[in-house]
Chain length 364, copies 2
């Protein structure tokens, strides 16, 4: 008969010949119950196979043991490893992880908001640069939340991620060390904080090397493959080209490389390219991509840990935790002292769209 319906605390109490209050105490505050009684209860639990009914517990406590993780796109290659870190840490606290993807649709964001309002989640992890709900006044109702991977634009929400500026700095330092002087930054954005920070690293690197920033080499982009492609096309339209492309992320770098190879250029022979993130594909591309590694699992773990601090009402001392990025050197960056010198117009081969090339046909 105990098979059909799960054992309740009452079954345990009856078997251990104590009251249900004692059973509850034996579980949650064992020090308040006599050793002997504790033993009886433990045995009764083992016999009945009792597990606390999480629903009843959450109802009573007014707080669930779930954390909602919201991402615009679950398929994002950066997402899964962060999720691993999040899940591990949550589970070690006895919490479960609920996932939601908004596909950047505010309507869907609102549906998840309902999850929160109905007490189904005690806290929230945001894997997105902006709050996924339209501008509801409900902001006041938001449970403790932590942003990961990209700072949350609307502010006020603590954030755990990589040190974007430091990472970008490592990339540009490498390019400069390899002899590059004309380095483009692909993927400027006013609304994406991570982009802005990476660009800051780019600027720092240039000025540390006493190189002047050529604003014509700074291209906007939203971090998609397409944006990388587009940036290259536009640079080719104009009459100067860089010898290296520092991309705001790996997706952008993929787009840049596709555009360059489509035009018949070789990497790193003709141009060097760097990315940011170290997505799984980075080591399978041709050439393999030199990039900045995100400590993804660590980000997830720390973000969840911070969230638990918030849940315990501890005001966090820091509102932002920045992890150290690593430079991963692969094959998309070449020593280009020669390339840089051989260049006249900023590119190496003659190409039809460049006005100067057409003017003097001399360039190979």
């Amino acid at each position: 008969m105990s098979k059909s319906t799960p054992a309740t605390i009452e079954d345990v109490a009856r078997l251990a010949e104590v009251s249900i209050a004692t059973v509850s105490r034996a579980i949650h505050t064992p020090e308040k119950v006599a050793k002997e009684t504790r033993l009886k209860v433990t045995q009764a639990i083992a016999i009945t196979g009792y597990t606390t009914n999480a629903m009843a517990r959450s109802l009573r406590l007014g707080r669930s043991n779930m954390i909602l993780v919201v991402a615009p796109d679950i398929g994002d290659p950066n997402f899964s490893n962060i999720l691993v870190g999040l899940e591990n840490e949550a589970r070690s606290h006895g919490y479960g992880v609920l996932i939601g993807h908004t596909q950047n649709d505010p309507q869907r964001g609102l549906e998840y908001l309902k999850f929160l309002n109905s007490n189904q989640a005690a806290g929230m992890i945001l894997f997105t640069g902006i709050l996924p709900f339209g501008h509801q006044t409900m902001t006041a109702r938001l449970p403790p939340s932590v942003g990961v991977f990209e700072p949350v634009y609307n502010g006020g929400i603590p954030y755990v991620g990589v040190d974007d500026a430091a990472g970008a700095r490592k990339a540009i330092d490498l390019l400069i060390a390899e002899g590059h002087r004309r380095i483009a930054f692909i993927g400027e954005s006013r609304t994406r904080l991570a982009h802005a920070r990476r660009k800051a690293g780019y600027e720092d690197g240039l000025s540390a090397a006493r190189l002047e920033l050529d604003p014509r080499l700074v291209m906007p982009g939203d971090g998609t493959i397409e944006s990388g492609r587009l940036a290259v096309e536009q640079l080719f339209m104009r009459d100067t080209l860089p010898s290296a492309f520092m991309c705001v992320n790996d997706q952008t770098a993929i787009g840049v490389m596709l555009a360059l190879t489509a035009r018949g250029y070789s990497i790193p022979g003709d141009f060097s390219v760097t990315g940011f993130d170290d997505v799984p594909q980075a080591s399978f591309m041709n050439p393999t991509l030199t990039t900045i590694r995100q400590p993804r699992t660590a980000i997830g773990k720390q973000a969840m840990a911070l969230l638990f601090k918030l849940l315990q009402d501890e005001k966090p001392e820091e509102t932002e935790i920045l992890l150290a990025p690593d430079l991963v050197v692969r094959n998309s960056v070449g020593g280009s002292a020669r390339a840089a010198e051989a260049l006249t117009h900023g590119h190496r081969r003659r190409h039809p769209l460049c006005a100067r090339c057409r003017a003097d046909g001399s360039l190979l």
Copy 2:
């Protein structure tokens, strides 16, 4: 004052001047409530911003609105898109998706079992070939479950996935059409059902073309990159090589290609390779990988739909739903009529480990 604490059904009832029972009915069985009353309730809900407390509801109903998705590895490239399909379908039924990854550790599997026993999940999706819990007798207690991507070995659990045999058949038919006669199968496994089915497709294809299966060309493997690498090394040890490698999945194919290129062979010039799954990397490799595409999002969607059928106590008419696979032709397969004919020993270049090559040094 309604700000501090979420509105309850009682607040709504008071405002609408009805009993809480009527409010509940107005929400869940509106046809049982007079039109006029229904209107009053609807307005009261809008004013108070009431949302049903999911905890209380689940407690009362004895069933939650969560589905647990268990995977050995969240980071699996196949996982994320399936998850998208699962999540979309679940949410459209008002259910949330809870995720767990076991890392193939039965201990962790058991922790999730507790989730189930405590009524936190109404059903389960298994993204794994074997039940993630040790051999507990608890099997009887398992909630409605559906396997995805790989049939569940322990049996009895309905399954939604791609038609492995048909997919494999498409791959081998392509290879045969391209002129290959000696085709290896890399990744045989006794415990993994998906592997067995793909091998069955391989066998069918061979016999349909009246080709004899050479058992020396069937290599075991667990579907990892390393297993692909190892298989190639072992084939090189022996004195016959295939002209094409049909791999049980993309990971294996990656391993095979790495091993072949490390030995200086070109693909598809010297050897052809096919994969299975069409993981995201497949289109970024060099050469890009010809493979079989998994309809991942569709698998997720249909699996979740099937699970909801089970939850509604409908005995499912079919215990297995197989989706049609697509062949994705890329660059890792070459017309190898010439290669096949030029071969003496089954490989094209002379290589030091082959006894025959060493014996007659003639082969280029």
